[in-house]
Symmetry: C2
Subunit: 471 residues, 2 copies
């Protein structure tokens, strides 16, 4: 699938020979122009075709990151910070060429302060790596976008995922950053204190900036004690509406549920097949409760009552770590499992998020529309947050299917905005949602964002063409 038409005619900004020579001299084999490496760095998990950079540089220190940026700024060459390559909106495509700056080798956990519930990591540390390191301390980092993304990348896209309903998103859990500016300067934002009123909140300006304002080199995060008790449950519902109404009741009652995920019947069927499970193939809530033993029991009892009132059946508990892992692994496989339901397909995936009371309307109308269209689809969602993903499974060889999916997606976004929500709960804007951002935020707000971008990155070297169209 091609990048959206707005990006097809963008003039490339070639890397001057002098810059390439300087990079090769400085980085040796850690700077490469090999096609295979470039192609691997010019894609993400979006359905867009690859748009490779001219070169890939593997940085190992903050200073190296800053050096590359200073050199690129001098030569007006685009730089795209790269972590694990798991973004979903075309963030990593080198639409104007330039350099992919791979930070995955910056993968050291720098400082764990168990007593303060904070950790500082290099940007290339992945969330699974971090949690493996934390487990023996009785701590964890809850933000879980499914993919084993890097913490730098998760910061850059303001990621969230299944635990956000209780623990918040990267917005709430990044305490501070070390950032290389486009001028090649290293700055620190925030501190290890839990709160601060010390000047502008640069931390949260860089969180969610999608690599367009600077390169995140280090991240200081909040940690949490592993809960005394954890219990997961699945519950089947006769309709999506019943599952969603149960979710709304859970949230409105203030139950401190840790995870509250919806899978529609298509998604359940897909994970059953992929992970060899025998879940009832109807709409399902997959939930998790964290707390003291008494609190978990209390939460679970409340939720079971609410679910029963809405027609929920087959309430099944998973209390051993193994059972829980099996369920959550299946949930994390849902996207890949669904793709396998239609061999050769790609997914155009939505990411709307609405106020919780509008969730039923938001989902129900989207389902009616996609059912009427005849396109295969699946739904998974962090419904406790009002956020869900509908994946339209399209045949990339059939342009009319992509057009249909994009039309349905646009209708869904328009509805989410009308319901006072957002076009993207956690995936970001990237290449794909720029028109939606304009629709959601309005021209005046976009102008303010562009003023910030021009001020902080005057030569537009940082991931150009993302969030906003080039002009």
């Amino acid at each position: 699938m091609n990048a959206p038409r707005e990006f097809s005619g963008i003039a490339p900004r070639p890397v001057p020979a002098a810059m390439l020579e300087a990079l090769l001299e400085r980085f040796g084999s850690r700077c490469t122009t090999a096609l295979a490496v470039r192609e691997q760095h010019g894609r993400d998990e979006s359905p867009f075709d690859v748009a490779p950079p001219e070169a890939v540089v593997f940085a190992e220190t903050n200073e190296e990151v800053a050096e590359v940026l200073a050199l690129a700024d001098e030569h007006r060459v685009p730089v795209i910070p790269y972590g694990a390559g798991t973004s979903l909106e075309g963030h990593l495509l080198a639409v104007q060429g330039g350099i992919s700056l791979d930070l995955s080798r910056m993968n050291r956990i720098l400082q764990i302060h168990a007593e303060d519930l904070t950790v500082t990591v290099q940007a290339g540390v992945t969330r699974n790596q971090l949690n493996a390191e934390l487990r023996h301390l009785g701590l964890f980092f809850p933000i879980d976008p499914g993919a084993d993304a890097t913490l730098g990348g998760m910061s850059a896209t303001r990621a969230s995922g299944t635990n956000a309903v209780r623990y918040g998103t990267m917005r709430e859990n990044v305490l501070g950053l070390t950032v290389a500016t486009p001028h090649g300067r290293l700055i620190r934002t925030g501190s290890r204190a839990r709160k601060s009123s010390a000047g502008y909140d640069l931390t949260r300006l860089y969180v969610g900036s999608e690599g367009t304002l600077g390169a995140i080199c280090e991240v200081t995060l909040r940690l949490y004690p592993l809960p005394e008790a954890v219990s997961a449950a699945v519950c089947s519902f006769p309709t999506i509406d019943a599952a969603v109404r149960t979710t709304i009741a859970i949230i409105q009652m203030g139950v401190p549920i840790a995870r509250c995920e919806l899978l529609d019947a298509h998604a359940v069927r897909a994970v059953n097949r992929h992970d060899k499970l025998t879940l009832t193939e109807s709409p399902m809530l997959l939930m998790e409760f964290h707390g003291s033993t008494a609190s978990v029991q209390e939460q679970a009892a409340t939720v079971q009552d609410l679910a029963s009132e809405m027609g929920g059946t087959d309430f099944q508990w998973a209390t051993t770590p193994e059972e829980r892992t099996r369920l959550w692994t299946a949930r994390h496989h849902a996207y890949l499992s669904a793709l396998q339901m239609r061999p050769g397909c790609r997914s155009v995936t939505t990411d709307t998020c609405v106020p919780i009371s509008r969730l039923a309307e938001s989902i129900n109308e989207s389902v009616l529309e996609v059912e009427a269209s005849g396109l295969p689809y699946f739904i998974v969602g962090h419904v406790g947050d009002g956020n869900f993903h509908l994946g339209y499974l399209i045949d990339p060889a059939q342009p009319q299917e992509r057009e249909l999916a994009e039309r349905l997606s646009a209708q869904m976004v328009a509805r989410a905005i009308r319901l006072e929500g957002t076009c993207t709960g956690e995936h970001g804007i990237g290449l794909h949602k720029q028109d939606f951002l304009l629709e959601e935020a309005g021209a005046g707000t976009i102008d303010q964002m562009r003023v910030l971008k021009s001020a902080l990155d005057p030569h537009n070297i940082m991931n150009p063409g993302k969030i906003f169209p080039l002009r």
Copy 2:
């Protein structure tokens, strides 16, 4: 007390006659140059002497706010947004003259969405007004800086207060804003969705910007269900250190305590006298627990055990609303009560916040220093966040007392920064902490902040001289 020497000698920027005439014509009696009104608007609750604006305009609509800003931008005249006048760092002083833009008449609660736990208010609504309106819905807004501040002002200073340990600060609880830009344009940021990855986080850029980037006109906030059970307790300790170590243990164990406040013996003595209480006059923790009945009991039992281990005694419970109100009212009076312990004095108040494991060191050394100095003082603190306020009670007629207090304060801030904390947990930078901000954030980070300021407010009309020195 004069404003810091850096601000004496700032060239005023007079309001041209043409602008004043335009304002008088447009706003009639809602634009005034009466000295009493100007003086009331040229001070806050800091110890600085009044620095009155040239005129005060009382705005009643977003459009009026935008009009005033557009006019001021055209004439290069400073504008200082004004809410309830309760800031503490000289934020409202018209150090370059100009207009005070009073938003207190913009005091309508615009939309309560109980089912989504959100509310949208005009900037001049105060937190007590909001909570009075919410109570019959079984909801509340937890952020509680003590003073009955406006929600616009609380957003602008990134306020927090006693409930932040559980519910977060304004940073976590503002979902979106309507802002008038210095160019007189009204923009909206955020949405009512709980999370979003839609572009730069302008909401959190304006939250904490102290009126220097634009005027906040409307605020959309997260709400919470009133807890099923609430219980408050006081516990006395032989030393401040014992109280602080109890706090550290509570936080490290992950007890979801709602409030955890320290009062030192001086503060307890002051509130006893002011509020006619009979609290034991030794260091005290004042705590509150929110949750289900079972959860509150469980939290309370855990905390009582921890406190006993540290030598805590006189554990007293307040479970009726009246008893709780009496205790928290006393806590909120602590600042005024302490001032009355030394008639005619003013308080130079610190606001450091450190990682929780560093809190004992941070407080203990500060106490040793102030004890050695002989200055009267008191301590109150949101210790669950690592944040506390030490008030040096100085005689304003004795310049050497102010100098001594400022020297002790600077030592405390340097220590907090060395302990990886911040110079201000919740009061902001204003006029008073600009050197500390530089010390904490570093020149490179301040440069980035200044780039943002210049880009968004090119004529520097928005609250000039605050956060950064003029230059």
